[in-house]
Amino acid sequence: MRPARASRLKLEEIVSTYEEGGQRLTALDGLSLTVDEAEFVALVGPSGSGKSTLLDIVAGLFSQESGTVRLDGEPTTAAQRLGQSAYMQQRDLLLPWRTTTGNAALGLEAAGMARADAEQRAATELWRFGLDGFGNAYPSQLSGGMRQRAALLRTILPRKELVLFDEPFGALDALTRSDLQAWLAGLWEQERSSVLLVTHDVEEAVFLADRVIVLTPRPGRVAFELAVSLPRPRTRAMIASPEFIRDRAILLQALGFLGDSPR
């Protein structure tokens, strides 16, 4: 049972449409969900279920057509939501002209901190992200896993209470991905921020999240919700546990009903 916690993010009846080839298409159709304080929620769903649109709306990059987005209980406009969360996408989006430290500092700088101060803050965190000794390296000199960790550091460093992940490990090879998932689970134990993770990967969702929400194909709506039965802190060995296998099976079945075959 979930303890009663304050909701960090509350979406109420979100409707979002977009235009494509002269046609109005509905991306999200009356979607409602909550992410509590210090809760890790994963969103899985067939491609085109509007998951990324949802994150864009929460980040404030995009306005919903109707419905309410509440942060800490207060209704917000898109403009008000800018700067309220940390958003990380599948592409690392590291700036090629900045070093690892400079890239990691970007979130703080964007929010108004002086570059020198921001880089100093970033430099003290490098070791925790396995980037020790790579602070002055340019992104082109880093491996895929290191680039993604640098992007993660950039995301975590401003210490936003709400973190949005859009398939953060989707572009990595399987081995690096599972490494980073385990590492992110450990990092979350230290940070305890509210997280909304969008993923295609059911195992990633079960391994990392407290709760997994399954969306319907477009237009996106909540089809199913599962409280993950794995205890915290999560360890890699858990992916062989009966709870993990059962939760994964439930989710795959729920997705199967939706006529999609995620990996």
Binding site: G83, Q84, L93, L106, A111
Partner: protein, 260 residues
């Protein structure tokens, strides 16, 4: 000597060999055909002129050089400034960009006589022609460079709460720098042409002026010597812009490295 070393050297060895072959062939052709000096001087005649006429050539080269530098500086400042303005203001974009593009159909060197009438024989009209010629590649490359900024990076910064000015400073302007430098390299080379054109129309000093005088006096070696100095100037300035680019964009040399 292994193959890798041969290939590394080839970058500068082969053009040098080609130049040597052309100069050698030219020298031989003049000697064999016995062409008169005023029609086709041999490279050795040009070299003699470079040495003997250096007191005439160098001060005039300096005049042209300063016209190019001032004109190029104006082109870069105005080009980058206008490129940014056109990028940041949709209204200015609609109003100005088509005019900037259309202005390229005007043969700028043809404006030189007009400028001569308006501003006289001094430095002014040459600098204006030089700046007008160099302006176009800079403004277009600035605008296109800014426009090529990764939209996802812009959105990332906005999601972190960055203001528009901050997005520009952190992402858009740095993104455009490689393109701006590419434009500047083109600009500096054609600025030399612009300056000479300005001088050909009417001047009291400069290598272009010297060329016209040399031709009139059948001092053909001196004229070719002036051309040699001009191309050296062009090449040198092109390389200098490249050096500034390297100093400004140290990260670029890493992008050619293969990823581990």
């Amino acid at each position: 000597m292994n193959l890798a070393r041969v290939q590394r050297h080839a970058a500068w060895v082969s053009p040098l060999l080609l130049i040597a072959a052309i100069v050698g062939g030219w020298e031989a052709a003049v000697r064999v055909s016995g062409a008169p000096l005023w029609l086709l001087p041999a490279p050795s005649d040009v070299w003699r002129s470079l040495v003997e006429d250096r007191d005439i050539l160098l001060p005039n080269a300096l005049v042209t050089f300063s016209e190019v530098l001032i004109g190029f500086a104006c082109a870069v400042v105005a080009g980058v400034g206008l490129g940014i303005a056109v990028y940041r203001s949709p209204t200015l974009n609609r109003a100005l960009y088509p005019i900037i593009i259309a202005s390229q159909t005007i043969p700028i060197p043809a404006l030189a006589p007009l400028l001569l009438v308006a501003f006289g024989y001094g430095l002014g009209p040459k600098v204006i022609v030089t700046a007008l010629v160099g302006f176009f590649p800079v403004v277009v490359n600035t605008f296109e460079g800014l426009r090529s900024t990764d939209r996802d990076v812009v959105n990332l910064l906005r999601s972190f709460g960055a203001s528009r000015a901050k997005v520009f400073r952190l992402a858009e302007f740095p993104s455009s720098l490689p393109s701006i430098f590419a434009g500047a390299r083109i600009a500096v080379a054609i600025c030399v042409i612009g300056a000479v054109f300005g001088e050909l129309v009417g001047a009291r000093a400069g290598l272009g002026y010297l060329m016209i005088r040399a031709i009139a006096q059948f001092e053909t070696p001196r004229m070719v010597a002036a051309i040699v100095l001009l191309s050296l100037m062009s090449t040198g300035l092109f390389a200098a812009v490249g050096l500034v680019e390297r100093a400004f964009l140290p990260w670029r040399k890493y992008t050619t490295m293969t990823r581990a």
